[in-house]
């Protein structure tokens, strides 16, 4: 907990102040994470993958200011609401999406005592809360009084519910191996684990749960409605789906929600499969981990996000029926088999 960090330095602060600091840090992390992912991957990596440079002028160095400028532009835009829109629901929808992103960050540990809350059902809390955004998306689609928006929202709901299952089932294997659902506990289990008695790199669960990792990445991609699973926002047929009537800062909220969630999902994947904020060879309980831990986790997040965005820029969009088929006929059976095999290994080996 944060107050332990300060207490160890001889500073004693109360619960209210601690909570305020944590909230501020998480509130800052969402736009910062969204900006970093957006700039590094969406603007620069995508450009280089298409043999072009991307923005080069804003900010002086390789266009690093581009997205900040875009954000400021969104703030200046007129706030347009369709005449027939359900005004209150229309205004609330982006906030609901952003709140779901915000709540995911609550359980992600970034250091030995750096987390908002270490819940004993941490993984499932994070995945459950992340699917709250479906409600925001449905609200946005329904309140916009537009056919495109409604179709987009319906597609999003169908997709997010379908891929919620493989996402959860993929995590079950990790939880069984770690024997805890607390994210901090999973980090510890990976740091202290051993591969057949060889414990110099611990046991990052990507080695034993590589099927689970693949399933998690595919399902997370679908949860984020990123290509190739971007049917809900398919520009070529639905213009931009449930966001079609949104302008200005409300649209910015959706954008931050999308990339903030991508950052959060990368963090969860890094925690579940790559050992989170620990590095093999470093002492988990040491004081310096409070500074090294976040850096290690950030590096791992960027690694996972690279995989995510790499797939995003490579594959063309699935058709709606292919999308559903992939989830129900391939991913879910595969994740159930993965659980059974993991259980068999745990019981008999």
């Amino acid at each position: 907990m944060m107050n332990l960090l300060f207490a160890s330095n001889g500073i004693d602060i109360g619960w209210g102040t601690t909570t305020a600091i944590k909230t501020a840090v998480v509130l800052g992390t969402i736009p910062a994470g969204a900006l970093i992912l957006g700039y590094v991957f969406l603007l620069k990596m995508m450009s280089h993958m298409q043999s072009r440079l991307g923005p080069m002028d804003p900010g002086g160095f390789h266009g690093w200011f581009q997205l900040v400028g875009d954000g400021m532009k969104f703030l200046q835009k007129e706030d347009i609401m369709p005449e027939d829109a359900d005004k209150r629901v229309f205004a609330m929808a982006p906030i609901v999406v952003l709140i779901s992103t915000f709540l995911v960050y609550v359980v992600i540990p970034v250091g030995p005592s750096l987390y908002v809350r270490d819940l004993n059902v941490g993984v499932f809390y994070a995945l459950a809360v992340s699917s709250l955004s479906v409600i925001g998306v449905l609200m946005a689609g329904w309140a916009s009084s537009s056919k495109f928006a409604l179709l987009g929202a319906l597609r999003a709901a169908a997709q997010l519910i379908a891929y919620e299952l493989p996402l959860l089932l993929a995590v079950v294997g990790v939880v069984m191996q770690a024997r805890t659902a607390s994210l901090q506990g999973i980090v510890e289990a990976q740091h202290e684990g051993a591969i057949f008695g060889w414990d110099s790199i611990g046991l990052p669960f990507i080695f034993t749960q590589f099927i689970g990792f693949g399933l998690f990445m595919i399902a997370a991609q679908a949860e984020l409605t990123q290509p190739p699973f971007d049917m809900p926002v398919a520009e070529s047929e639905l213009v931009s789906g449930y966001m079609v009537e949104y302008t200005g800062f409300r649209f910015l909220f959706f954008f931050m929600g999308e990339f903030g969630t991508a950052f959060a999902f990368s963090a969860i994947a890094a925690t579940l499969f790559l050992g989170g904020w620990t590095l093999p060879g470093l002492d988990m309980d040491a004081e310096y981990m409070k500074i090294v831990g976040p850096i290690v986790l950030f590096t791992k997040i960027m690694l996972i996000a690279f995989l995510m965005f790499w797939a995003r820029f490579t594959y063309p969009r699935f058709r709606e029926d292919q999308l559903q088929k992939l989830a129900w006929k391939y991913l879910i059976p595969l994740s159930v088999i993965n659980i059974l095999v993991t259980a068999a290994f745990i019981v008999w080996i």
Binding site: H48, M49, Q50, S51, L53, T314, K329
Partner: protein
Amino acid sequence: MAFKLPGVIKGLTVPFRTMTQPTVTVQYPHEKEELAPRTRGVIALKEENCTACMLCSRSCPDWCIYIEGHKEKAPPRREGGKERLVNILDRFDIDYGLCMYCGICVEVCPFDALFWSPEFEYSEFKIAKLLHDKDVLGEWMETVPEVEPLEAGAVAPKGAK
């Protein structure tokens, strides 16, 4: 669903390989691209070759060439000969707001008065300034490159010495 895994993975390698290679982008205002030898940038006029025959103006699909001229009497070439009539060019304008850079005027000119120049940086804030008169068109003559030598084995053009 035919789910072909090797193709899916091969697909991932293509953008990755592209990413590791240098980009093809040229940062235009900061650096300039190397232009092709026969770039169609702007049309230059060699005024002394022009006879105001109007062929270019009449063949222009956009009607963007404006020519005015008059005839003047000139002294005879030979002693005791007849006085000659010579065409004098008063106005030769090309409206680059209309021109579509087809190059028919350059092709059709029987006296080699029009040339392609690779210069392209002559945009203006006022569209009227895109009308280049014969003085401006004459200045472009300095930027016309030398004729490229023919490739080895090429058929010699008609009338070449």
